[in-house]
Symmetry: C2
């Protein structure tokens, strides 16, 4: 049978192998119930053996590359662009098509997930990729039941069991940023974190705390503010911090965008960076190179995270086992021009 393996199997060849007529095979394929159980089994075995595909199935498959759905949580930051870039580049190389879902995170809640999952299954989608947004366990289950793998990039909540996700070493990054400042001689170091409850921000905060503790620097709660990853919080937060009786000599911002706000407010107050105030950002997007001064920042491998997530989804789609349900790629501190020793007051 290996001899005619190249010949595409048609219904008649399946019938011949099973020792029945074409109509009978047709009935099995279409789920008719007027077929004896034993016959059905024989036909099914033959279908399997020959790897039979209906013309529609064949058309579907040959119709193009595999497709993976992507749900994007707002497409407005350099962060998103980098992640998307990584996904798209890998997809192009692997000849995968990425479908930007019309189901936006905003609509996610009021979407009938059974219906959604079924649609993806019918359309032959190979998997689902989520950036930042998340699925409820019930939603996740709907995809699981249909054999559609789901991978989340940078989940907001702590990794749940059953949820496959890709992130970055946020704790280590927070620690590295803070240790860098400490090694420059800073002792009064503030932290401007992201939205309350965001797992990645909490991890960065704990990295910051770990560095302080390891160096015997007492934690000052007035130096720790959390609100958002946006620029305006950088401005507001800096205003608050610089108005303190003992203002910090360094600020570690939870995102590059926030750090930009820090730079802006420092400039407005005539506080020179890095001479009078050191600033570290987080993300390592291209704005770190465009700001004045260029921003010392903890780089996340965003493109790699996108690529890794797509790779994981594809591996799962092919039935391969993953090494681990949650992977964290290494962050890396990149020292630029916004950090220096504190002013020798």
């Amino acid at each position: 049978m290996a001899l005619n393996a190249q010949k595409k199997p048609i219904l008649a060849s399946v019938a011949a192998l099973a020792g029945v007529s074409s109509p009978t095979v047709s009935k099995v394929l279409n789920g008719r119930d007027d077929v004896a159980a034993a016959t059905r089994v024989r036909v099914q075995r033959a279908l399997e053996e020959l790897g039979y595909e209906s013309p529609v199935q064949r058309r579907m498959r040959s119709q193009g590359p595999d497709m993976v759905d992507l749900v994007f949580d707002g497409l407005n930051s350099s962060y998103s662009l980098e992640v998307l870039h990584g996904i798209v580049e890998y997809a192009a190389a692997e000849e995968i098509e990425i479908v930007l879902s019309s189901i936006t995170p905003a609509k996610l809640r009021n979407t009938d997930h059974e219906q959604w999952a079924q649609r993806l299954a019918d359309a032959g989608r190979k998997g689902l990729l989520l950036v930042t947004s998340e699925l409820t366990p019930a939603q996740l289950k709907a995809f699981e039941r249909r054999g559609i793998p789901v991978v989340v990039i940078d989940p907001l909540n702590p990794p749940r069991s059953g949820l496959v996700s890709v992130g970055a070493t946020n704790w280590a990054g927070g620690k590295a940023a803070t240790e860098h400042l400490i090694s420059l001689g800073h002792r009064r170091i503030a932290f401007l974190g992201g939205p309350e409850g965001a797992e990645c921000s909490i991890a960065r905060l704990h990295g910051y705390l770990a560095a302080l503790m390891a160096n015997g620097i007492p934690v000052n709660n007035g130096y720790i503010l959390s609100a958002s990853f946006r620029r305006d919080f950088g401005v507001r937060g800096t205003r608050t911090l610089l108005a303190l009786e003992a203002p910090p000599t360094a600020i570690f911002a939870g995102s590059d965008t926030t750090a930009l706000g820090v730079l802006e407010e420092a400039r407005n107050q005539g506080v020179r960076v890095p001479e009078q105030l050191s600033v570290v950002g987080f993300d390592g997007t291209d704005i770190t190179e465009q700001s004045v001064p260029r921003l010392t920042s903890v780089a996340q491998p965003l493109q790699e995270m996108g690529r890794a997530a797509l790779r994981s989804v594809l591996r799962m789609a092919h039935g391969e086992e993953l090494d681990s349900p949650h992977v964290e790629l290494a962050t890396q501190l990149v020292v630029r021009d916004s950090t220096a020793p504190p002013p020798s007051s």
Copy 2:
């Protein structure tokens, strides 16, 4: 004919209506080229009138929202992000899914376009959107023959007949930028343009020239350099310009990214912006707000361009007539902090 409207149209009924044979209809459907143009049109009209769908298409349709393919020319700039943002937002509202094509512009040349177009047709894709990149007339024809509308955003070449495209008023933008500088008192104004031959850059250059001429300012060819939209050209170009015997007092850059390079080089040479040198960018992406000083720039309505392109493709897919094959959305000069009167030498 309204009477049997409920009867699902088959190939033979289309043939009857068009007054041809079934094989001919089959050929049209499959994009064969051995059909006379007039016959093809008649058949396409009949297909349209009866709302014919192939069995495969029927299957597909019952399976989810309409899909439009998108070919992106590199996903690395704020420019791309903005355009994509506009497309995706409109798509989500209209419940359209956007497929990021695995055919990248790099691969475009060695792709069998007949095969590609057929694949999209088979997959029931409603249209094709191209950003910056373009199709050859032969490629365009392959899609046209299969009734798949194509729209290009910001085509690099001048609008060809038959090519539907969306752009911005580059000439007017170039003129507005230059007039702004002239009205501040500048007479020595340089232009740093994009890649040689890029239509949008040529239009901006001519807007610049028009403004100079309208104000009786002689054109100095040494003030006009064209190379790319990238930052490094901003640096190099500025170095060249500032080394001139009579250096310009203002530089109009063809993109915001290039303008950023201008700012960088000016800073390196200790030339203060805007006091000693005025700078205007083009695009109006968010880096204009993040630079120091904030960048005066000609804003392109990038999100709107993305949205308009998708809307056009969908209108064509529904058989509606477009008002015009090429549309230009208005650019707008946004004055920020990088422009001021020239130094009173």
